[in-house]
Amino acid sequence: MKKPMTLRKQLSIFLALIVIFQSVALVVSLWATQVFSKLDAEALRVLENTTAIRAEKFNAAGGMMIDNLRLELEKLTLDLTSLAKESQIRPDQIYQDDRTYNAAALAASDSLVTLLKKNQVTGAFVIFNGSNADKENQAAHSSVYLRNTTPEREEVANYSLEKGPMAIAQNYQIATSVHWDLDLLAEPENNGFDFYEQSIWASKTFKGSEIERFGYWSEPKDILKDNQQVITYTMPLLDEEGEAYGVIGIEIDLPYFTRHYLPDSDLLYHNSFYVIANQRNQMLNFNYFIPSGLLAETYLEKGQELALKKLGEGTYETRLKRLGQVYCSLKPLKVYSENSPFSDQNWTLACFVPTANLSENSAVVKNKMLWSIAITTFLALAGVLLLVFLFTRKIAGLSDYVKHLSPYDEIEFLPTGMREIDDLTSAIKLLNQSLVDTSRTTSKILELSLLPIGGYEVLNDSRHVILTDFLYWLLHLDSGSMITKEEWQTYRHQLIKNPVKEHPNIYGYDDEIRAERLWLRIVEAKSPIGVVGVVLDVTNEFEENQRLANQLDYDALTGLYNKRALRRKVKEKINDHPELIGAMIFIDLDNLKEVNDRFGHDVGDRLLIKAGQIFRYYEAVGGLVSRISGDEFVIYLHGFKSQDAIRKIIDGFDGQATGAEIMIGDQKSRPICFSSGLAWYPEDADQVDGLLKCSDAAMYQAKKNEKGCLCYYSQINEVKRVIESTDEQ
């Protein structure tokens, strides 16, 4: 049979399954609702938004900057035109005339200071079409170049004069730089002077167009040869015919451009960065690019081309050699008007975020969520175990209490605080009390009934044996003392060491202290939980039985065996040793009838007693002596090896029996006479009945021949015939 589970185990498993099912259900619902994918999609959307906002800010700032530059250009053009007119020269000749140039430089510096104040730029410049200081040098261009290291502040004192006459520095009380000079030198190689040449080229090519069409953004370059990469935007200075005689421009150095226009405070993810590069179809070209900082410089290589995989409107996926898979959000920047000859430069703002970092939030949430579920499950399981333990503790305590309860203990259940359980324990207590009472009553009744009965119980899972008072009394033990199983085995052995033959479950027990032998009936019954036994003192009954059995076997008058006993005993002897020789002697008193008639039955009885005593002679040699009826005695001798040995015994008896007499009254005596017949075993017969018949026949023959003699059955053929004829009849 399957072992039943404890209440605690059942409750624990049940509640634990509920907890586990709940956790699994939560995980499945998270998976089914695709919460984490939605988080990733949201992150991508946020990235796209951030890039879009940054692009809008840039476009707005750039637009305003271009507008400001245009306004300042118009103002300066007016100033320079009037200066040229005053000096009666063309504007393209301004640089050639010292006085006009000095005035032009100061006018230019005013415009540049205004530009620096109005815009978030690090420098502004005007470059003329030739050099005033070095007129012969075709590469030299008179310039006014002002720098502002703190574009956040409108502090003119922080400006520095990079190019231009000292008068400007004195005018504005600004410092000259280490590289201060008068001219800017054209660098024909590597597009080194594009910021000057390109806008002038555009003004010539698209003469008459609106001024914005000629605006040109340069790629980052070190214009002042001071290790500072700058980006410039230039517009041409045009005379009334639309001929260019110089440019005006603004400069943004890369550190400031990065800090102000591509701030990483925008970037929400680790290892993400902005870059401005050129996008064509699904390719991002890095022939030149504006990095937002160290990360962009580290992970992007000049000249490389990145193939983009489109994910959505403005979002792409690509792979960077040193960063791996990245998301990329692209937004075109409006830096040129649509009809600009430079519009193919296509500045695109790209925000790169490593794929893993974009999904970091969802990964963290996923991780934390799963951990939370795991921890919650674990805590809930622990809680379940604890609660079940607390809940079942009192019940288990009750069970344990009852299990270890001795039958002699008084039951006292502690309250559990659970009504049903407490009701149950009260009922058990009541039941037990009534059982105890019943038991006590039974014991008392037994005690009062004087029945010497006791019982014991040996339980498999108990170290002790339960005994009733009678057994304590029997074994001379203190009533109620604890008897171990080992001790009980010793006692039990004493009790059952003398079993009585032919009487199962009856054992003789010698009570040495009381110096008496008791007869005990001990019966045991096995049960699944142990052994139960009953011990009953049957001494009186047993002895009475024994006595009754004796009465049945013996002749009341002579105390010799009666015929029934004789037949049984002879059978036993023959059965025990059938190979040995025996003799059955049938004796009949010759004068019993006469004595009875003459002297009364008392004397007759005495005659019979006396004769019996004489025949007891054979008892000394193991003979069975019996009185089978009135005056008939039968003696059976067995266990001899020859008939002679028996004859010798008979001869010995004859010697003793001869002359035996019985006293009648005070003086007279009468001889005791008897006739006997002998039949040999196995010669004459091998069965009791046969022997009785043969010996009886021989005795009859003896009586017929001569009273008082012994006749052998083998000596009488007549007797045989008589017997045969009798049998035939």
Binding site: N102, R153, A175, V178
Partner: protein, 489 residues
């Protein structure tokens, strides 16, 4: 039982010592995590080439050690030193519209002390071990260590001051007037030289009176007043007393010299820096920082034309009878009190930047002196110096300045006043009052000139007590207004 308690106490003591040791020597290094870099905002006042050199160095730090140790420094030029200091004060005081305090910033020791009094500075003792502090030149670090307990400012680059001369013009003057260049070793000699130069140039246009040219200008008047006092045996900015010591005799000599020179046009100050005045030909000499060596022009501009000039540098002049002494100055860097991670990150940058490997190339962009003792003996320094000497004209000028600066720093008494509460304002008061008083007196001189007074007579008038006393009264008044303690002697 007693033995047990003793054992437990011993273990506790050992654990505590281990903890303290690790706290002292660890310098918070363990707080930094390359995976989660701490972003450090750095405010500085460098401009032009120095700014570019500094920001290039920062970029290199971010790319290398910064990336490895988890520190990302974001430099921000805050304009001039005055603007930087104002921005720092505003931030420290939490004024409306003020930016939050930067994590790390350029700062002079006196400003550092002022900010520390507002509870805004981190004590760098926790981040610089004794061994690390010993790497710095004693005289450079000393001034940053307040009360010998708190370390509030680590020197970054030092400079001294010297006399720069347009040798082309000067030699012409000397040739014609037989004036000895040796005389420029003293203030009195310089004054006389400037007067002679004025007269010499004035004489070139006899038809125009009083149109002589100024010879010399002084970039830092505060340094001039403090160092001159020191040469005359007075510590005007006296940290020991925590007060200004106004020695009238010394101040009188200083005032008479400067006021006389300025009011009569022997000395001048036109552009933002005196080097610019040399570039424009307004001056032929100036007293300025060795760190401005690169700014000394190779040519001057007159009427939009360039004229090449020679370069000459001489030691800082000394008052006759005074003790040779030149300033030792240079902003260091201080760290704002924030969290241990930011403070540790800032300290990592300072240590890296002041290491000779970085400090020497940075210093050499413009005549600064490196701050660690080892730098001066390093092969790197020597190689860089010899490279400068054999470089272009500008670099040769810088190399020449190094010759004098090193001599001045190593041999003569360089002096950097220790800060005390109010010492920063004292500098401003001294400088501003002297320049404004002198400029005001120039107007008086113009009146005298128009009245036809001779140069001697005007000079005599300028030495009247009233002018000096006016200046002194102004100083007293302004010190009182700011409750800066002072003592007259």
């Amino acid at each position: 039982m007693k033995k047990q308690i003793k054992g437990i106490k011993l273990i506790a003591l050992v654990l505590m010592l281990l903890f303290l040791l690790s706290a002292c020597s660890g310098g918070g290094k363990t707080l930094l995590d390359p995976k989660d870099p701490v972003s450090i905002t750095l405010w500085h006042y460098y401009t032009g080439d120095t700014k570019i050199a500094f920001e290039t160095a920062v970029k290199s730090f971010n790319k290398n050690l910064g990336a490895e140790s988890g520190v990302l420094v974001r430099p921000l030029a805050k304009g001039s030193l005055v603007e930087l200091e104002k921005a720092l004060s505003d931030s420290a005081k939490g004024l409306i519209n003020a930016e939050p305090m930067p994590d790390l910033f350029s700062c002079y020791p006196d400003k550092a002390l002022e900010l520390d009094n507002l509870g805004k500075l981190a004590d760098l003792q926790a981040y610089f071990s004794k061994q690390e502090q010993e790497l710095y030149r004693d005289d450079f670090l000393q001034v940053s260590s307040f009360d010998r307990e708190r370390l509030l400012n680590i020197p970054i680059a030092k400079s001294t001051e010297l006399l720069y001369i347009n040798a082309t013009t000067w030699n012409e003057f000397v040739d014609e007037t037989a004036f000895e260049a040796d005389q420029l070793a003293s203030w009195e000699g310089l004054y006389q030289g400037a007067r002679a130069y004025y007269q010499w140039t004035d004489a070139k246009t006899p038809e125009v009176p009083w149109d002589g040219q100024s010879l010399v200008g002084i970039d830092s008047l505060a340094n001039f007043i403090i160092i001159s006092n020191k040469q005359l045996g007075v510590e005007v900015s006296n940290a020991k007393e925590g007060a200004a010591v106004l020695n009238q005799a010394a101040l009188r000599r200083i005032f008479d010299l400067y006021n006389g020179g300025m009011s009569l046009g022997y000395f001048n100050a036109i552009g933002k820096f005196r080097s610019d005045d040399v570039k424009s030909g307004e001056l032929s000499a100036y007293l300025g920082s060795s760190s401005g060596a690169a700014y000394f022009p190779r040519w001057i501009e007159k009427n939009n034309q360039q004229y090449p000039i020679e370069f000459l540098a001489l030691p800082y002049p000394v008052f006759e009878g005074g003790k040779a002494c030149a300033v030792s100055q240079g902003a260091g860097m201080s760290v704002s009190k924030s969290d241990p991670k930011r403070e540790a990150g800032s300290s990592v940058f300072i240590k890296w930047f002041t290491d000779p490997d970085q400090n020497v190339p940075f210093a050499m962009t413009s005549g600064y002196l490196p701050v660690q003792e080892e730098a001066y003996t390093s092969a790197l320094f020597k190689t860089a110096l010899s490279a400068l000497s054999s470089g272009d004209e500008g670099e040769q000028n810088v190399a020449a300045v190094y010759g004098i600066s090193l001599k001045q720093i190593k041999e003569s008494d360089t002096y950097a006043p220790s800060p005390f509460e109010g010492s920063y304002d004292l500098r401003v008061i001294l400088e501003k009052s002297l320049i404004e008083t002198s400029l005001a007196n120039r107007d008086q001189v113009a009146i005298y000139q128009q009245e036809g007074l001779t140069e001697e007579a005007i000079l005599g008038a300028m030495k009247e007590d009233q002018y000096f006393e006016k200046w002194l009264d102004r100083i007293h008044h302004e010190l009182d207004a700011l409750e800066i303690p002072y003592r007259d002697e």
